[in-house]
Amino acid sequence: MINASLPELRRALDARQISAVELAGLFLDRIDALNPALNAFITVDREGALAAARAADARIAAGSAGPLTGIPLAHKDVFCTEGVLTTCGSKMLANFVSPYDAHVVSLLEAAGAVSLGKANMDEFAMGSSNESSYFGAVKNPWNLGRIPGGSSGGSAAAVAARLAPIATGTDTGGSVRQPAAYCGITGIKPTYGLVSRYGMIAYASSLDQGGAFGASAEDCALLLGAMTGFDARDSTSLERPTEDYAAALAGPACARPLEGLRIGLPREFFAEGMSDDVRAAVEAAVEQYRVLGATTVEVSLPNAKLAIPAYYVIAPAECSSNLSRFDGVRYGHRAADYGDLADMYAKSRAEGFGAEVKRRILVGTYVLSHGYYDAYYLQAQRLRRLIAQDFQAALQHCDLIAGPTTPTTAWTLGEKADDPVQMYLSDIYTIAVNLAGLPGLSHPVGFGADGLPVGLQLIGDYFAESRLLHAAHRFQHATDWHARRPACAA
């Protein structure tokens, strides 16, 4: 049952082979057994989960269940949950019990999904390894000595270890796709504006976007479908009809279901920088897509290498502004000893924020300060346009773009913890997608020399979520990389 797909769980629940309470109990017991080693959860809400499961059972009995009614899930701890601790992985919010729900949380609750608890994450979603969490690093379920990726590392590890069938995440520079790749699961970041940011604690608002984790594209499609939709409380929420991503997975039942699909392979993504084992798995996956009927064409993203420097100006700039709200007055940590108001702010923030968050606030403060704004912030925004234009030019020649999600497999815990620049460079393939606001998906395509998973990234034009999910679903129909599990979930 722990490895069942969402449609299989749906059938089992509807056929009363298992109740929602029993299903929640099954995963809660796995969390109790495995979380001490993995540290994927910051908060486990057994009581709340069982109450939600009882309500789901009543809905199922009444015949009014939807696709997610009774399905357990984990929420990244960046999403506010009313009455439940919401820490964002920070000492600053270590005691913050949210007085309201994020829009995504409300939607999933209304759908009858059962929240098991809050998943660990890099502090304020700033990190690529989940080591910056105030609550300690998350371990990769495939190898407890390796990082799970970040910043949604707890969500990805929870799904990979089957502590939850699905999980929410957020992706500002790769924080869904990169940990999905490192943990051997599927993750999708939709087009900017599809998932409401209301109640999603802000890092870099023009880049932050909610996303979905699952064992397969099918599970991601079902979760994402329940997360999207217009929300007047987010000024960047898009007013457009919601799509049935799960329905879009249906395709021709033939040997070449992707006939006619043109996949662009960016020259720059296949140049140096990728490790040999990642390259072998990615190239084999591209060949598999050809077997399924797709054609491939070389495309170019000439400014892709500038995405990292541009991102590390734009994201810190927005972060320095967003995180100014943490001042020890209305919520969050306040220092015990202080003098005047300015001293209270400075000490509360010094104590409440970790080293990486402070660094990004300082970088952002500098690039926005008088005399440096044009050289850094405006220059980064001009590069952002060039990067977005590159994607549009490439997408003239193809329907979607494919390449590695990450340059290597998951590295050893601690390896880059003291070297922010090396950490930043690991997001080379994912960051440009956020700058452009495009949708991206990562799905497992094999294993590296060290036995750790490799992910393939698919990038589409705006609103191409259905196309990405359909392609990945067809791939997963013909292969079984997505069905591989770490020993703890075998």
């Binding site: 007085p99 007047a232 420097p309 007055v329 590069l383 606001g437």
Partner: protein
């Protein structure tokens, strides 16, 4: 580029983050590395390129000017470090 300790101290004051002298030195070294990465941007000629501030380049949606929130002051103040009689308490600002 290389930041001086004075510059880092100035940014930290603007950002309202207290840094001890040892933290300042360690932070300066890390920031130098980050700005070394960021400097790569300067090699690109972006003359005539319009800055892109956001993926959605259309005007912000307006809403009717009506009250949509209910009074939840007690719930919101429950998570505040220090309140009294419905007010947030901070050190005295005006003598």
């Amino acid at each position: 580029m290389s930041l001086s300790n004075d510059q880092v101290g100035h940014i930290a004051r603007l950002a309202r983050i207290a840094l001890s002298d040892t933290e300042l030195e360690a932070t300066r070294a890390k920031l130098d590395g980050i700005f070394g990465l960021i400097e790569q941007m300067q090699a690109v000629d972006t003359t005539g390129v319009e800055p892109m501030s956001h993926p959605q380049e259309f005007p912000t949606r307006l809403r009717p000017d009506v009250v949509t929130e209910t009074d939840r002051r007690d719930a919101f103040q429950k998570v505040a470090p220090q309140t009294e009689a419905g007010l947030y308490l901070v050190p005295k600002v005006i003598e």
